[in-house]
């Protein structure tokens, strides 16, 4: 089981990015409903692990961070889901 994905916030970030090319920080914050600091910390861990790629740019002269899921992140989610399914099957 992937230790990083045991957190519901990080799992929610990965799941949000799964269905998008990229999502901005503010949109993720709105969708997941967490504080900026909390989301920033979780995103930092995902970026550090290589699950998520961060891109910084300027939008209408304002800095904007946007995030996209990497292949590593996608595979990690698949493995995590498989591990969860196996755990459920073992106990049923």
């Amino acid at each position: 089981m992937d230790e990083l994905l045991l957190s519901k916030v990080r799992l929610a970030v990965i799941a949000q990015l799964l269905s998008a090319e990229w999502v901005t920080f503010s949109e993720l914050q709105k969708s997941i409903d967490v504080t900026n600091g909390n989301l920033g910390a979780h995103l930092g861990k995902l970026v550090e692990a290589g699950y998520v790629k961060e891109e910084k740019r300027f939008e209408a002269r304002r800095p904007q961070s946007r995030y996209r899921l990497t292949k590593t992140g996608r595979n990690a989610l698949l493995h995590h889901v498989t591990a969860l399914q196996m755990l459920v099957e073992q106990h049923s």
Partner: protein, 194 residues
């Protein structure tokens, strides 16, 4: 983590993945620009067919196309969408491929092996397919627009005297009206998913 917690996590992931992002963030002004371009081109041909004197195709078509391309580039560059969904990428690919293929055929074969009217019909049918593909995935106004453009394409052949006029109407209903609807729907250009 125990089994009940794992089950809870799985159900939760399933819920998020099921509610996949099917929103479209196409700038309405792009639809309106290309719709007006198609409407004008066909309306001018209808005017010619009706005996009116209008400038030659190359005098008007190229500047109008340049304007439509300019508007599209401008709209894309000022896009403030907070996310780009997979549907957005798909829409971009579908419209670009349809445009490129039809333009290639237009340049290569119109007036040699493809009569002008047949080419006008190809443009309508091609873009009605694009509107339907994108619309069915993500936007009701677009698929209704696609149906309208397809209906115009089918009907036009049966009324030869108004062939170009009906195609012009099809472009207006297929692109301009959905563009206006989307612009009114949400100020940021997002469309509601079906």
């Amino acid at each position: 983590m125990d089994a009940s917690e794992a089950r809870d996590h799985l159900q939760w992931i399933d819920g998020i993945v099921r509610a996949t992002d099917r929103s479209l963030h196409m700038p309405p002004v792009t639809l309106i620009a290309w719709g007006l371009f198609g409407t004008m081109v066909n309306a001018l041909h209808q005017a010619t067919a009706s005996g009116m004197t209008v400038p030659r195709d190359e005098v008007l078509h190229l500047p109008m196309m340049v304007v439509a391309i300019g508007v599209s580039v401008w709209a894309a560059s000022r896009g403030r969408a907070a996310r780009q969904s997979l549907v957005d990428s798909n829409a971009g690919i579908v419209f670009s491929v349809v445009f490129a293929v039809l333009m290639l055929v237009n340049l290569a074969a119109q007036n040699t092996v493809i009569p002008f009217q047949a080419m006008a019909l190809f443009w309508c049918v091609g873009f009605s397919i694009a509107l339907l593909i994108v619309g069915i995935q993500a936007s009701r106004p677009l698929w209704i627009g696609g149906l309208a453009l397809l209906a115009a394409s089918v009907t036009a052949g049966h009324i030869p005297g108004w062939f170009d006029g009906i195609l012009a109407l099809g472009w207006a209903l297929g692109f301009v009206v959905p563009g206006i609807v989307l612009a009114l729907e949400r100020p940021d250009g997002r469309t509601a998913s079906i």
